[in-house]
Amino acid sequence: MKSFNYHSAKDSKEASKLSSSNSAYLAGGMTTIPSMKLGLASYKDIIDIKNIKKLSGIKVSGKSVTIGATTKHVEVANSKDVKKAISSLAALAEGIGDPQVRNRGTIGGSIANNDPSADYPSACIALDATIHTNERKIEASKFFKGMFETALKKGELIEAIEFKIPEKSSYQKYPNPASRYAVVGVYVAKHKDGTRVAVTGAKPCVYNDKDLSKVLDSNFSVNSIAGMELKSSDMNSDIHASAEYRANLVVIQAKKAVEAC
């Protein structure tokens, strides 16, 4: 790993002051550190944001669940408040990586990284989240731009993620047996104003499957989407699964999610 200067910021202001075109924020480090070790990334300055108290914690109101950016997966998974308000979100957190990764990894880090197979981005899309940064509020539908790409500007810091509480929801992941990343994961959420079917792992970036959402909007049942065939031409194809396999898996996982709702 190349050398860098380590800083620990006390508040968002200090963190953003320390940031430059050659710096990275460090939360759990579950992706940042391996990326640096593998030589895929290098920075002059690493700015640790874990000591910024304001960035951690869970707040539930009547309509939404707001989770601070440095809140760890284990905290979301074990939170009684999250379980009560959006149980599928706690279940998603429980399924990330392994216990040691969940002890360190954070929601803000997961979203900022936007891995095409990560779990949390699908929750943001399905639960119509608003991403609060130190500069603005960004709708989830405008946040995830492409593979490992987000709407965040250089030095912009995620402070919290606000999820809308749906009428019912479920996240169903088909995990890679080795990495536990999603080969395909489908998050179905039925809101008053419509159903969202967020898909991770299938394409270079998380997306809301409009075909599935439309059918479920008019008839929220397993049968209504059974046998649907999705276009596979823009889906990922790798040693783990072909594009056609993934297209089929999206429908299968969506059916499981509707059934579990």
């Binding site: 790993m1 050398s3 860098f4 620990s8 040691q100 360190r104």
Partner: protein
């Protein structure tokens, strides 16, 4: 360079190390505590698991600077007065190791499980040990060892 103070196995240590020093490197190269193993070095195998303030984590994916002033327990800190920790005893009794490379991480991870769940089922043990890989594939006896330890701890 940065000065880092940690409580390691009940002993206060202070070292000045480069900012990019990993906790696994700090323990192995700067403190000569080589019981913490580095296997995959990509945070998948779990041979490097230690406890920081009572929680298990992968020391190969944690900066030493990041956990400054914390309390660290490694495999070397488990035995007391020449007597093995019940988890170590259980791994010995149930033949929970073959080559032994993964064992320090397995033991540290399993202790964290029993701290949170005193009487885990076989499935809960297997789920918990997801981040610990044994390339001898001796999982049956590892699960048996954790079961055995749960009756003693």
């Amino acid at each position: 360079m940065t000065e880092i103070t940690l409580d390691v196995n009940g002993k206060k240590v202070t070292k000045t190390v480069p900012d990019n020093t990993l906790l696994s490197t700090f323990l192995r190269d700067h403190l000569n505590l080589t019981g913490t193993h580095v296997g995959c070095d990509t945070s998948q195998c779990g041979a490097c698991v230690v406890h920081v303030d009572g929680e298990s984590l992968k020391s190969c994916t944690t900066l030493a600077a990041d956990i400054a002033d914390s309390k660290v327990t490694t495999i070397e800190g488990l035995a007391s007065n020449g007597k093995m920790h019940p988890m170590q005893e259980a791994f010995k009794k149930m033949h929970g190791l073959q080559c032994g490379f993964c064992t320090p991480g397995m033991v540290m991870s399993a202790i964290d499980l029993l701290n949170k769940n005193k009487d885990p089922s076989d499935k809960e043990i297997r789920d918990w040990l997801e981040g610990n890989i044994c390339r001898c594939t001796g999982y049956q006896n590892i699960v048996a060892a954790v079961k055995e330890a749960s009756s003693k701890m």
